[in-house]
């Protein structure tokens, strides 16, 4: 049952991912990307990570993609449909090939032992996914968390300064 479900969702994920780069109309690309995010959220659900799924939809599909769609609509890129970027194709092929090599290298290496870590499905079901994330975020990873918040604050201030004509 789960394997069938995974196969369907994974196929849609890959297909919509391909659609993102092949669609000529930027809006259709953006819509495909939203579909990809949804499929990834579905995969998170099957991995017993509902919090990740909800946040994936909330942040990526709901907030970031709205801004991207917004920009596409405002710029009205329709007129540029049909122009070809041959350089991007070459660079993309090289990067894609390198990624493929890396992936095979990773899979063939013996670093994947198959041993289970501390956080198993039982632990997630017992304590709760959200609680586990919160616990590690506010204990083990407190410093990176705070640094990220300061980084975001700096970005916000920068955005305000850049967009204001007169301060």
């Amino acid at each position: 049952m789960e394997t069938i479900f995974f196969t369907i969702v994974a196929a849609v994920t890959v297909l919509s991912g391909i659609m993102v780069v092949t669609c000529r109309n930027p809006i259709n690309s953006a819509l495909s990307l939203i579909l990809t995010f949804f499929c990834i959220a579905t995969l998170y659900v099957t991995l017993d990570a509902p919090f990740m799924a909800a946040v994936q939809v909330l942040v990526y599909a709901g907030a970031i993609m709205v801004l991207i769609v917004f920009v596409i609509m405002l710029l009205n890129i329709r007129s540029e449909v049909g122009r070809r970027y041959t350089h991007a194709g070459i660079i993309g092929t090289v990067v894609g090939f390198l990624m493929l090599v890396l992936t095979f290298n990773f899979l063939n290496n013996s670093s994947l032992t198959g041993a289970k870590g501390l956080i198993t499905t039982d632990v997630i079901n017992k304590i709760g996914h959200t609680e586990l994330i919160a616990r590690s975020m506010f204990t083990d990873f407190l410093l990176p968390f705070e640094i990220t918040s300061i980084l975001l604050l700096v970005a916000i201030i920068g955005a305000v300064i850049l967009s204001k004509k007169k301060i």
Binding site: I34, V55, L58, A61, V66, M73
Partner: protein
């Protein structure tokens, strides 16, 4: 009923389908009669009678409207993006309806020895002896609300009309702004209940321990932000008739227009149901009536309040709306979180 499917008794699946059907039909009926109630209530508030001709006191008006919209000519603008134009009403309608999956609308009932919780996305775990529901229910609703924006944005863009585009842009900016404040307002509820599961949040409010009393500021802010998020008066800027014809749905006609209309009212019902669940004790109430009656009564009261607000307040100006969202509501919700963190426990 000994038959099992994927390790769960058959009645589990039957109960699920029955719950989905009952809730869906009930919400559809509520949506249809909300349009009638709105016209009636606003009519009486403005010393008019509202619809009177179709049926007794106009009771058949929603059905007549539905049939009329169904038989209207379907117009697709020739310069529009056909696919997105078709997709937009669907994207607007679906999130508005599936939000109900996680809302608990009554106590657990017993059918043929099986305990069935009155919540679609939940089942009774006999081994643990408790109801298991989606443990991020609130985030699910917030996520759906954020997806609903696409319907409006796409409708505005695909119509290839300046009024539609302006309406769509306005609305998406408005929804993103108020989504943030609404999300922050309910964080104080999570802090009190220590859970994201709606079952747990409702259980915490038993015996009039409603979060509306414990978190009055969060309650008011969340309700106002929700009204703004679903584009209702006084925040219905996207369809301000005097400036934008009818905003993002200017080019829509027939059933596609009706779908936007239904989405708007379904959103209103969802928002009222969520507010009831988070702040007004969900289905809890004095014991002489079953839980689902209390739930429906509270939701209908909030819907009435929405219509009352519409009849009372004039529309905001766009800059006023943005200022209110970012400079008043957002700091207030942040302050509320800090105060809750200091006082609660």
């Amino acid at each position: 009923m000994g038959f099992e499917l994927f390790g769960l008794p058959m009645i589990y699946y039957i109960a699920m389908i029955v719950k989905v059907l009952v809730v869906f039909v009930f919400v559809l009926l509520t949506v249809a009669y909300a349009t009638y109630a709105e016209r009636k209530i606003i009519g009486h508030m403005q010393v008019r009678l509202g619809p009177m001709r179709t049926g007794w006191h106009g009771l058949l008006q929603p059905i007549a409207d539905g049939i009329k919209l169904f038989f209207k000519e379907e117009i697709v603008p020739s310069q529009s993006d056909k696919f997105a134009f078709l997709l937009a009403p669907i994207i607007a309608l679906i999130p508005a309806f599936i939000g109900f999956a996680v809302i608990p609308f009554g106590d657990t009932i017993e059918v043929m020895g099986y305990k069935i919780p009155l919540q679609i996305a939940a089942f009774y775990d006999t081994a643990a002896g408790k109801v298991v529901d989606l443990n991020v229910g609130v985030l699910y609703i917030l996520a759906l609300a954020s997806v609903g924006v696409y319907g409006i944005v796409l409708a505005g863009w695909a119509s290839n009309s300046k009024y539609s585009l302006l309406g769509g842009l306005r609305s998406s900016a408005q929804m993103i702004s108020y989504e943030l404040a609404a999300g922050l307002a309910i964080i104080s509820v999570f802090m009190m209940s220590e859970s994201l599961s709606l079952q747990k949040i409702v259980a915490d409010q038993a015996g009039f321990g409603w979060y509306a009393f414990k978190q009055p500021l969060a309650f008011i802010l969340f309700f106002i932000c929700s009204i703004a998020e679903i584009n209702r008066t006084p925040f219905d800027l996207p369809e301000a008739e005097t400036e934008l014809v009818s905003g993002f749905c200017t080019e829509y006609s027939s059933m596609k227009y009706a779908m936007f209309f239904m989405a708007e009212y379904a959103n209103m019902v969802t928002v009222c149901a969520v507010t009831t669940t988070l702040f007004l004790g969900g289905w809890h109430g004095p014991g002489f009536l079953p839980g689902w009656v209390w739930f429906i009564a509270k939701v209908y009261f909030l819907i009435f309040v929405c219509m009352w607000i519409r009849a009372t307040y004039p529309r905001y100006r766009y800059d006023q709306l943005m200022r209110l969202g970012w400079k008043v509501f957002l700091p207030l919700t942040l302050l509320n979180i800090v105060v809750t963190g200091l006082i609660a426990r």
